[in-house]
């Protein structure tokens, strides 16, 4: 049994001056809940890392990977690893995320450096999210790191953690970082009735990473190390653009940004299919993409605008309005950020401006 630490909400007073009702919220009493049936209570128990836990030095069989375009998570940096059971391998698939063998664990660590100009130094790891394939079913488990950075503990209900860092431009930024609760994990990872990984497929992994033996294409590395079967010639493999790569055409970058930030829900088999808005980079139907599409159930999320995307006019486009917003009832994605991804929304803005 582990005691769940609780948000202490001592009091919130609203508008003493006005005629409005006053709101007083009392703190919550601690309760103890046994989580051992859900998963291991400590991250260290899995043995993913050797040496000091916080160095995230992978043990044998744990392989680092990166994605061409990553979901925006309030500027948190991410270190990703995959552990595929020995003797098993992924079967290549061209379009979708890979079908990983039973026993696979995907490990994603979220961290902030104190200064983004020195991203390798003075790191604070906030959480580690695991996707574990048990008997063909994925389960999502969030672990929250302690302040001493010596251990991370399973948390089902999530947590709000104040974080501050120095930006590359020297500005100080302060946010309340939100670790999702276990249901919120599924909010993004659900495909139909099943939890699924979002990132690691051929198009996202088709790029170079620095391995101990030098820089190499990740798919080639996976194949030569027996982690991947059936890889075609690397030239024949589609590649999702890196939205951060300014040398790539704006259309590809913006569509990559929309895919990784939106299409886990906004796809024909995703939780937002009821909206009729599908944002995979492969979507070719303009109405499905939001062009000239009236909203379905947006409510005030429409911002008083009439269409998802109005070509040439981002300020008349609901999509632009919602990705820029930080109002909980308006913002998209609904979860996973508390601030606006300035660079990302600028990219989408530029893309809509150029649409005809």
């Amino acid at each position: 049994m582990r005691r769940i630490s609780l948000l202490v909400f001592v009091s919130v007073l609203l508008s003493c001056e006005s005629r409005k009702q006053e709101i007083v919220v009392l703190s919550e009493v601690e309760s103890a809940i046994d989580l051992s049936h859900i998963g291991k209570t400590k991250l260290s128990e899995y043995g993913f890392f050797v040496g000091e836990l916080k160095t995230l030095t992978p043990a044998a069989g744990v392989v680092a990977y990166t994605l061409n375009s990553a979901l925006f998570s309030d500027y948190a940096l991410k270190k990703r690893f995959v552990k595929i059971p020995e003797g098993k391998a992924v079967t290549y698939a061209a379009d979708d995320v890979f079908d990983f063998p039973e026993g696979t664990i995907l490990i994603k660590n979220f961290y902030y450096p104190a200064d983004f100009n020195k991203p390798e130094y003075n790191i604070r790891i906030l959480e580690t999210r695991l996707l574990i394939n048990e008997a063909g079913v994925w389960k999502a488990l969030p672990y929250i790191w302690n302040e001493e950075q010596t251990e991370a503990y399973l948390s089902v209900a999530g947590k709000t953690i104040p974080v501050s860092w120095t930006n590359t431009d020297g500005q100080q930024r302060n946010i309340n970082y939100s670790v999702p609760n276990m249901n919120q994990c599924k909010g993004c990872h659900l495909r139909g009735d099943n939890v699924m990984p979002i990132g690691p497929g051929a198009r996202q992994l088709n790029g170079d990473l620095e391995f101990s033996a030098g820089k190499q294409n990740q798919l080639v590395y996976w194949q030569t190390h027996g982690l991947l079967q059936g890889l075609p010639s690397i030239d024949a493999i589609d590649k999702l653009a890196s939205y951060e790569d300014a040398s790539i055409p704006i259309n590809d970058r913006a569509r990559a940004w929309l895919e990784i930030n939106c299409a886990h829900c906004h796809r024909a088999d995703g939780p937002a299919k009821n909206s009729g808005l599908y944002l995979l980079a492969s979507e070719t139907n303009p109405a499905r993409l939001g062009i000239g599409k009236a909203p379905v159930a947006a409510g005030k999320g429409s911002g008083g605008l009439l269409y998802g995307i109005v070509p040439g006019n981002p300020d008349a486009s609901i999509l632009q309005y919602r990705i820029e917003s930080i109002h909980p009832g308006v913002m998209m994605p609904e979860l996973g950020r508390s601030i606006t991804h300035t660079e990302g929304v600028a990219l989408v803005r530029q893309w809509i401006e150029g649409l005809k």
Partner: protein, 413 residues
């Protein structure tokens, strides 16, 4: 196995300098969310009596045979007034046989209660409101089952929604009964849903009372709806929907609106003092035309000529209503003037002076279905108008008996 959530008072801070009532709220946020995650299939979660404030969405996912029960509609209050994260108050998704009963949800930043992709959802004695009354900033839907099957909404109350109070979307086998919806833009709305019964409800003082809509480009199209024995009155509220949403085009003073759907029976309802129109039967063509008019006014928006064509590009979508049977309702209207704030209201003011219509049909012909199977049996007292909207109302026709029921066959199975 039973769950009980405990709470205790710790600290109370009051503001000494003014007189307004102090409402004291507890926080059970962390423990309730943990329960919603760890609850085992088959369990009942008992929520205690009290006022409870939340800062994030509550969510329950992938559970079967669960009941969440409060101590009563006025006893267990969940408020999201201080919400900083999440687009709903309570979200229930991907489950089977879920029952929520006897509590209130207030003031979420988005929808108060959303139920998505659940087979078997019962909402009983749930009061879902925005406590300060109608405002454009309020969330869209008070009670919002979407992509569900076997939905029962019974003895619920919905108030203050900036879109629809009770809204069922893209769902099958739905019953909405014995509930109240007031001060919403739309009181009760069934959208792209199939096999729906709406009965014994009171929808009043909304902009529109009960709406049955079918919209293009979605996962499924709706049909087969029975609306009976409802009290639909005084739906004359200003339209406070955010522009861009389909309900923003509803004229204040609308009793029942039937849009682009088929196989619908409307009977035994009191449809009283809805000042602009008792019942409208319209096609999506008319909505698109009204929308285009709005767009033309906004010269700054470019490239929108595609809009009207989008629904035409959806080959599976039929924008025209057909198979509509309206009979034995009690239509009354003591109001002399329709809502003059709305173009449709102005039109009725001119075409049916001092006598707003009980039933209006837009009269836009369906090229693929000349016989629309629309039947009205309401005696000689009702005012029925065929707008001939396709020809700028040139051949607008008034007359109680213009929708002959001979040969009309409508299946409600």
């Amino acid at each position: 196995m039973r769950y009980v959530i405990f709470f205790s008072s710790v600290l109370c801070v009051a503001c000494a300098t003014h007189k307004s009532e102090t409402r004291v709220w507890q926080s059970i946020e962390q423990s309730l969310q943990t329960q919603l995650i760890t609850i085992q299939d088959g369990d009942t979660l008992f929520m205690p009596e009290g006022n409870f404030m939340f800062t994030k969405s509550l969510a329950m996912e992938g559970k079967s045979n669960i009941t969440i029960r409060g101590k009563g509609i006025d006893k267990t209050i969940l408020s999201f007034k201080n919400q900083i994260e999440g687009a709903q108050g309570l979200l229930v998704s991907n489950g089977r046989n879920i029952t929520l009963e006897d509590f209130s949800i207030e003031d979420a930043k988005g929808d108060n209660l959303k139920v998505s992709e659940v087979v078997g959802i019962t909402l009983k004695r749930i009061r879902s409101v925005w406590a300060d009354g109608p405002k454009t900033e309020n969330g869209a839907y008070a009670l919002y089952p979407v992509l569900c099957k076997h939905v029962l909404i019974d003895e619920c109350i919905a108030m203050g929604s900036s879109d629809a109070g009770i809204y069922v979307g893209q769902s099958d086998s739905v019953i909405i009964r014995n509930s109240k919806a007031y001060w919403n833009v739309a009181g009760i709305e069934s959208e792209n849903s199939r096999w729906v019964e709406i009965y014994g409800n009171e929808a009043y003082e909304n902009t529109g009372g009960i709406l049955i809509f079918d919209l293009p480009g979605l996962t499924q199209y709706g049909h087969t709806t029975k609306v009976y024995n409802n009290n639909i009155h005084n739906n004359n509220h200003d339209n406070f929907a955010m522009k861009g949403n389909i309900v923003a085009s509803i004229p204040p003073g609308t009793g029942v609106m039937i849009l682009a759907t088929h196989n619908l029976e409307l009977t035994g309802n009191d449809i009283i003092d809805n000042k602009t129109v008792g019942t409208g039967i319209i096609s999506y063509e008319l909505v698109a035309a009204l929308n285009e008019g709005e767009v033309e006014q906004e010269a700054s928006i470019g490239g929108v000529q595609t809009v009207a064509n989008n629904f035409r590009a959806d080959s599976l979508y039929n924008p025209f209503p057909y198979g509509i049977y309206i009979h034995n309702n009690n239509y009354q209207n003591s109001k002399w003037f329709p809502a003059l704030s709305h173009d449709i209201g102005k039109l009725f003011f001119m075409k049916s002076f001092m006598n707003p219509p009980d039933i209006v049909y837009d009269g836009i012909p369906d090229p693929n279905r000349p016989d629309r199977q629309i039947c009205v049996q309401q005696g000689d007292e009702v005012i029925v108008i065929n707008l001939d909207a396709a020809n700028d109302f040139e051949n607008l026709k008034k007359g109680a008996r213009q929708f002959n029921c001979e040969g009309v066959k409508i299946s409600l199975r």
